[in-house]
Symmetry: C2
Subunit: 273 residues, 2 copies
Amino acid sequence: MKFRRSGRLIDMTNYFIQNPQRLIPLTHFADKYDSAKSSISEDMAIIKQTFEQQGIGTLVTLPGAAGGVKFIPRVPTEEAKKFVAELCEMVAKPERLLPGGYLYLTDILGNPRVVNKIGRLFASFFAERKIDVVMTVATKGIPLAYAVAQFLNVPVVIVRRDSKVTEGSTVSINYVSGSSKRIQTMLLAKRSLAVGSNVLIIDDFMKAGGTVNGMISLLEEFEAHVAGIGVLVESEDIEERLVDEYISLVQLKDVDVKEKQIRVQEGNYLNYL
Amino acid sequence: MKFRRSGRLIDMTNYFIQNPQRLIPLTHFADKYDSAKSSISEDMAIIKQTFEQQGIGTLVTLPGAAGGVKFIPRVPTEEAKKFVAELCEMVAKPERLLPGGYLYLTDILGNPRVVNKIGRLFASFFAERKIDVVMTVATKGIPLAYAVAQFLNVPVVIVRRDSKVTEGSTVSINYVSGSSKRIQTMLLAKRSLAVGSNVLIIDDFMKAGGTVNGMISLLEEFEAHVAGIGVLVESEDIEERLVDEYISLVQLKDVDVKEKQIRVQEGNYLNYL
């Protein structure tokens, strides 16, 4: 089928958006559209320009026989700031307060559009790092981990707190929860993570960091490396944080159960932009 | 900023792909591009034509003041058949066999690209139904549920087997697992589902259907309606299936632990195309 330029631009844009961080040989498009590589290169220049102007991301071209073009999703600083402010507003709603000072975040984490935006933000931030896999712990972090992994084009592995027969053999560790000081267990299916992997840890909430720290210990068992840590919400009132380097989008300042007030501020994400 | 047609086509395509099943007023684009509505209508006709030719989906235009345009993702029959065949091949790999005849599916469910394709398939199938929310049970069904929900532009609710303090008050039911005949509990946060919702149930695996049946009982507590049921893999050797109407992508025919053989066939999805 012969394509006009407009058709090619639409179809290529769809392909790039659906396949972020994937190296696509130019011949893929040249063959599909039965077009000269020079026309495809012109198309890509137009797409790259629009993607950059509109803050969608960029196209990176790698030359040579093994080369091709790769779409890297990006979130412009202004858009990131605006979205983090929206997140702060969402999290600060007093009706989220649960008995014991816990926060109900299930609706935020249940909204695929919000979750996808969070994923794009983290993926944009960690785009330059070498990441083989995104790791999270069941259950609440799972949608966030998938959203990030999708934009980074890498798989997800899920750490569990209980063993399941459908996981096969597992590696388990004990760790001390940072806030409650209780000893807990977490485990990961042996075959779900290759030795030496570079791992991005994603979670929904970090208090003292015991859970994240547990995941780091688990990674040592797989001789894997921490490529980065991203959390949606971190809580503030922590004497001793067990984890040093991490990126947060929202920081909980103060939860007043009696007055039904939640004070939040932007996480450290914006400091790095 | 003035846009040329090529820039508009690229930016609009990105917007549609990122916002499936969302009604977008024409003025959104006319304002953004500082263009006449007639130009935008021409752009949309080109995009619609390409989307349909390339099997991406379609654009539906609703007239009137409250109208606009909506992108409905679709999977063409040929592509669906090819993908289901690929899934069957993946599931049938003998190295998936775990002790007890269980199957290791974690790698398939951990691959965002595969998960997204599954999501697009189910969303395409259920596109005409009235669906307010996608429901699944923790843990393995979660990525599939989000993938489907994303293409349907609805939220996800997650049923749990244990109570969490961050969920607030919950509604719980007891149900009988279909295969092991054991009594089990599942629960859902009270505020996570509005009364009378139309719910699409998505899960990774169905044996006799006890878990799905449990979710249906739970929905009755919320006076909610089952809008559809979709499972990735169903197992065959079932005397009495507890659930009648469901869509499956892969059907397990026979698992021979001794010979290390897994026989699969296409699920009933293709019968409905």
